[in-house]
């Protein structure tokens, strides 16, 4: 299948996914389950990454500011901007594309392999709608919360480390964190996240759903790898586009 056929197939899958669900209550149940699987189960990873990366950003900023003319509060300001604008949205979503993406692709791919998708179809259920829609909705809903959590923990963790390691004192840090703050930077970050979340759920669903049953476990593995690579590239492309349109 060539590139354009794949894109066409992807959009046809989305068309099937965004049809009226069989039963609202079933969609709601699946949505809640997916929020747990995609979001809640990723919280510990998000927390660890954000705290450590926050601390590293503070150290790197400090290490790169040599001039005595640059005030100490710049460390807090720079760390905040890095975390809010790029780390908590783009970098975190790239990492989640790996965790969530491979999970979705292997789950749906295995369902294809073990005829569970055929079983749904024979019952008269729109399997794409049943399997893919809750994942996309849950991702789009929960990712912004994960990003907000990451922002808070990244700044708090980095700040705590900076004060404890005497890189900067508490007053200068808090002044820097609040200095020239534009709330739009959070909006910009969350807008990006919504797009990322959509593709991080939709692309692995596509590769998982169209796994060739004859390929066995190898094919499921390939689908997982492909989906992570493609969704990571999509995150980077969307990052560029949204940044261009919102910040330029």
């Amino acid at each position: 299948m060539n590139f354009f056929e794949q894109i066409g197939r992807f959009f046809l899958m989305l068309k099937l996914a965004f049809t009226k669900p069989e039963k609202g209550s079933v969609l709601w149940g699946s949505f809640i389950t997916e929020i747990y699987k995609i979001g809640i189960s990723s919280m510990s990873l998000v927390a660890i990454l954000s705290i450590f990366m926050g601390a590293v950003i503070i150290i790197q900023t400090d290490a790169n500011i040599d001039s005595p003319w640059i005030p100490a509060y710049t460390i807090g300001f720079t760390a905040r901007q890095s975390i809010i604008l790029e780390f908590s949205s783009t970098m975190l979503c790239l990492i989640l594309a790996g965790k969530v993406g491979s999970n979705i692709a292997s789950e749906i791919g295995t369902m294809r392999l073990t005829e569970q998708i055929d079983a749904l179809e024979v019952m008269g259920i729109n399997s794409v709608n049943y399997l893919v829609l809750p994942k996309i909705l849950a991702s789009v809903f929960i990712f912004p919360f994960l990003v907000i959590l990451s922002m808070a923990l990244g700044i708090a963790g980095g700040g705590f480390f900076a004060v404890q390691a005497e890189i900067v004192n508490f007053q200068e840090l808090t002044y820097g964190l609040q200095y020239w703050f534009d709330p739009f930077s959070i909006t910009y970050s969350l807008v990006k996240t919504v797009f990322f979340a959509f593709f991080i759920a939709a692309i692995p669903s596509f590769y998982g759903y169209y796994v060739k049953p004859s390929g066995g476990a190898l094919e499921v593995g390939r689908a997982g790898t492909k989906s992570v690579v493609i969704s990571s590239v999509m995150v980077l492309v969307i990052n560029l586009l949204v940044t261009y349109f919102l910040l330029l």
């Binding site: 039963k23 079933v26 295995t110 073990t114 079983a119 024979v122 008269g124």
Partner: protein, 250 residues
């Protein structure tokens, strides 16, 4: 009753099914048998609508299923129960939730009514006190029984069983065969079994179609299959040395 008329099906220019016509009778265990790669599964997938036929018709009762749109097919599909080769139970759902699944999707039953119906079906397949276990926690034979319970939960008119005995020991295979036979008679449904297991055919086969290289080669019942002088069927039925030695005694 299900009728297939002059069915052709191919993939990427390779013809898999050639002009197959057959009637699957109501209240009987109808078998589709043949060697691996003969087209049994493709034919079944054409009948249940997982593949579209290139030519020909699939008729459920009086309704031409192959000519229907998706919406109309949905109504027929609600009357279909299917037992897959690997059971195809949903891994994330417990035994009772698997059986309740079609009810949850299509019925307006309350939760307790669904649970009662699921428990009735599980009891019917002799599976009790396994409600809260997950498919990975029960044996292959039990998985098949759960799949049968799920297939009959919606009181189907048509039951499809794809290799119901694959991966099972001979004793469990007979239990599953008899269960399918009893359910067919009890609910007076059209049962279609895809198999290459001659033990099953000889145990419960009432109406048999033999497919060879995508063509209908022979049809009959379990008594006539052992006496036919058709060369290909002879090679299929009496494939093992043991069966060949029995043939001489028949």
């Amino acid at each position: 009753m299900i009728q297939v008329k002059n069915i052709d099906k191919g993939f990427s220019g390779v013809q898999i099914l050639k002009d197959i016509s057959f009637t699957f009778e109501k209240g009987k265990t109808n078998f589709i048998i043949g060697q691996s790669g003969s087209g049994k599964s493709v034919l079944t997938k054409c009948i249940v609508g997982l593949h579209e036929v290139d030519n020909g018709e699939v008729i459920y009762g009086d309704s031409v299923f192959s000519a229907m749109n998706k919406k109309d097919r949905k109504e027929i599909r609600k009357e279909i129960g299917m037992l897959f080769q690997g059971s195809a139970l949903f891994d994330s759902l417990s035994v009772v939730e698997n059986v309740m699944f079609p009810l949850r999707m299509f019925s307006k039953m309350s939760k307790s009514e669904m649970r009662d119906r699921a428990n009735f079906c599980l009891k019917r397949v002799d599976l009790i006190n396994k409600d809260d276990l997950f498919p990975s926690e029960i044996s292959g034979g039990m998985q098949k029984r759960v799949a049968i319970a799920r297939a009959i939960a919606m009181k189907p008119n048509y039951l499809f069983c794809d290799e119901p005995n694959s991966g099972l020991d001979p004793k469990t295979s007979i239990v599953i065969d008899n269960l399918i036979y009893e359910i067919t008679k009890e609910y007076d449904i059209t049962t279609v079994i895809i198999s290459h297991d001659m033990n099953s055919v000889m145990e419960i086969g009432e109406n048999i179609m033999y497919i060879h290289k995508g063509e209908k080669w022979w049809e009959g019942d379990k008594h006539s299959i052992v006496t036919t002088d058709n060369k290909e069927i002879g090679e299929f039925v009496y494939a093992s040395k043991f069966m060949k030695s029995l043939r001489g005694k028949l």
